[in-house]
């Protein structure tokens, strides 16, 4: 069985680790001291680049690469720490903030030193009142101990950290939405480019990082890049010739919830499979896995045929899903997929910021269609449309045949795909919220179509046995197109 490897969470349960003295006894701030004693800022940026650390907030973008986009000649530069953890199924940042806030401060200090940043805003969810209280207390202690404030440890840097409370809007977790919200406006995302690295908060270069990403920094500096890259797989990026390494290094705070016996946060090396994770979390609560959401509610769902998918950034992307924020939600055989989709679509219809028309009108429309199906009032008329499947060439595509589908199912797929198209990966909205809506809508429908059809046919929600509810692998669009990445070392 896969073993937990606690690094970020190692001292989480030590009593009073939230106080400076206890944190100090557990190597606290030694990594920051090592940073300023042994390395130049450029060395740190290079270490982060070499470590292959990918942003843990959702997009999985290389942290080192993001840092390299920040122009060094524009002052001031800002760091925004994204602690607006609102993705359903994700709850790892909450524990860091509530139990070990000094670790986050140390990570912020290392980032500030590397990037020459003097002001950090920690945008913290409005509902995290305890987390904010603990972090504020820790910041106060750090000021008293001379780790924050003017001329920190004789580096010549004046580093300040401020917490900034959100007010309950999901969209403020999107980096440009967060920036708008921080500036005191509605949290409506901005067009990119310019990217925040160039023009972010107050129109200055801004690094936006998730709490978990920043918490990785002390360990990368403290234990070295070689130690860090040994954890997790490094795949070969076959799009380049010759293939380049695509690192999925480090540990991830997997948040597992739903139908497992021991839900919680498990810190494990990236790259374990879905079924291994369920084992680690005390096994399934129920008889059979029906579906797994691998990365927060925005991620496309996995069926029980896809449980061998490795839970890392690359593998899940190539399996037409995503690791996102690492919030894994497990559903057993008693769950109705239509009902689950309805719950998620209500969430997105509520949280759409209202800026772009396809999303503002599309999300309630999708919700209404699913609601209609769940209420047993799905339209029973059928339409004929081209059938997609495995073509003669062995690839997924238009088979030249036609199929009959219920009008509502075609409409659902159509509306969702017009907010953001999941096949071409293009969205008609400013931010990726659009794809976060259509990804679940389309994937639930395509992978569990028998259950949707049954609800329309029978005029009520029908929970089918797992085998009947799931589209078999040969007709599953994602299963057919998924690529299992090769490890770089095997080439």
């Amino acid at each position: 069985m896969v073993q937990e490897r606690r690094i970020l969470y190692e001292h989480l349960d030590v009593p009073n680790i939230n106080t400076f003295d206890v944190f100090r006894q557990h190597e606290g701030y030694t990594r920051f001291e090592k940073t300023i004693a042994e390395y130049q800022p450029e060395d740190i940026a290079k270490m982060v680049m070499d470590s292959g650390l990918k942003g843990r907030g959702g997009a999985g973008f290389s942290t080192g690469l993001k840092w390299s986009f920040v122009p060094r000649d524009i002052e001031p530069r800002y760091l925004c720490c994204n602690a607006d953890e609102s993705e359903p199924g994700t709850f790892s940042n909450r524990y860091v903030l509530e139990k070990n806030p000094h670790l986050l401060i140390e990570g912020i200090l290392i980032c500030c030193y590397a990037m020459g940043i003097e002001t950090t805003y920690v945008y913290i969810r409005g509902e995290f009142t305890l987390g904010k209280k603990m972090l504020d207390a820790a910041i106060k202690e750090a000021y008293e101990q001379g780790y924050l404030g003017e001329n920190v440890r004789d580096t010549g840097l004046n580093i300040n950290i401020y917490t900034h409370p959100g007010a309950g809007a999901y969209i403020c977790g999107e980096e440009t939405g967060l920036i708008e919200s921080l500036e005191g406006k509605r949290g409506q995302p901005r067009n990119k480019p310019p990217f925040p690295a160039v023009e972010g908060v107050f129109m200055k270069p801004t690094v936006v990082q998730n709490v978990e990403t920043l918490c990785n920094l002390p360990f990368i500096v403290g234990n070295g890049v070689d130690w860090y890259t040994k954890m997790g797989p490094t795949y070969a990026d076959m799009r380049n010739d010759p293939p380049t390494p695509d690192p999925n290094t480090g540990t991830k705070l997997y948040c597992i919830s739903g139908d497992v016996n021991e839900p919680g946060v498990y810190e494990l090396d990236l790259g374990l499979t879905c079924s291994e994770l369920i084992e680690v979390a005390g096994g399934l609560r129920g008889e059979e896995v029906k579906a797994v959401i691998p990365g927060g509610s925005s991620a496309p769902i996995l069926t029980h045929y896809e449980l061998d998918t490795r839970l890392d950034f690359t593998s899940l992307t190539l399996a037409k899903s995503m690791l996102g924020s690492g919030g894994i939600i497990v559903m057993n055989e008693t769950r109705n997929i239509v009902d689950c989709l309805l719950n998620i679509m209500k969430f997105y219809a509520h949280e759409s910021c209202g800026q772009c028309t396809p999303c503002r009108w599309g999300t309630p429309w999708v919700r209404d269609i699913v609601q209609r199906i769940a209420d047993g009032e799905g339209r029973q008329t059928t339409i004929t449309r081209p059938k997609f499947g495995i073509t003669e060439s062995g690839r997924w595509g238009d088979t030249g045949e036609t199929e009959e589908v219920y009008e509502d199912l075609d409409l659902l797929e159509n509306v969702a795909n017009n907010i953001a198209n999941v096949d071409t990966m293009t969205w008609n909205t400013i931010c990726v919220f659009g794809i976060a809506v259509s990804w679940p809508a389309v994937s639930y429908l395509r992978k569990f179509r028998p259950e949707f059809e049954a609800a329309i046919r029978e005029g009520k929600l029908v929970t089918l046995p797992v085998a009947e509810a799931t589209v078999p692998p040969e007709e599953n669009y994602a299963y057919q197109q998924r690529i299992i990445p090769k490890e770089f070392a095997d080439l």
Partner: protein, 174 residues
Amino acid sequence: MSDEIVQIETPFQFNEENKREFDELIGRYPVKEAAMLPTLHLAQRQEGYITPAVMKYVAELLELSVMKVKDVVTFYPMFFEEPVGKYVIRICHTLPCALRDCKVVLEHLKAKLGTDVASETNLAKGTTDDGKFTLMKVECLASCDVAPVIMVNDDLYKNLTPEKVDELLEQLPN
């Protein structure tokens, strides 16, 4: 929004403690507007909800138009424009909590308090007649491992069952 449209009967002002906190806040940002959310949180803590007088006061403090403040207040679900109960009960109903029977807890709360669930535009619907409780549904509270959860004002309560809800409600002082 001018005084002809909304009559502001009693002007609002920060008390001394909040004024001090505001003065500290405003120094954190290069532009005053950025202090909007923390200032509104302070004002809501003092007044209970965001009245037109609060918006006018905040707009003056931050040197903005009242409309800009109103714009922000209406966007964020945590700001109330109507009076709420002494205890605001937020119940999470997103998927992980739904998988752990938050519906049972919600129905129990509704029956126990004798009230409906508040909607964002009608908070009175979810407020008890004695003004003690306001019940509202919220999206994910980021505690899915201990689902179902509710928040009562600033405190989170985990792994709820109808029995635990009864116990909790009894503990709350009047």
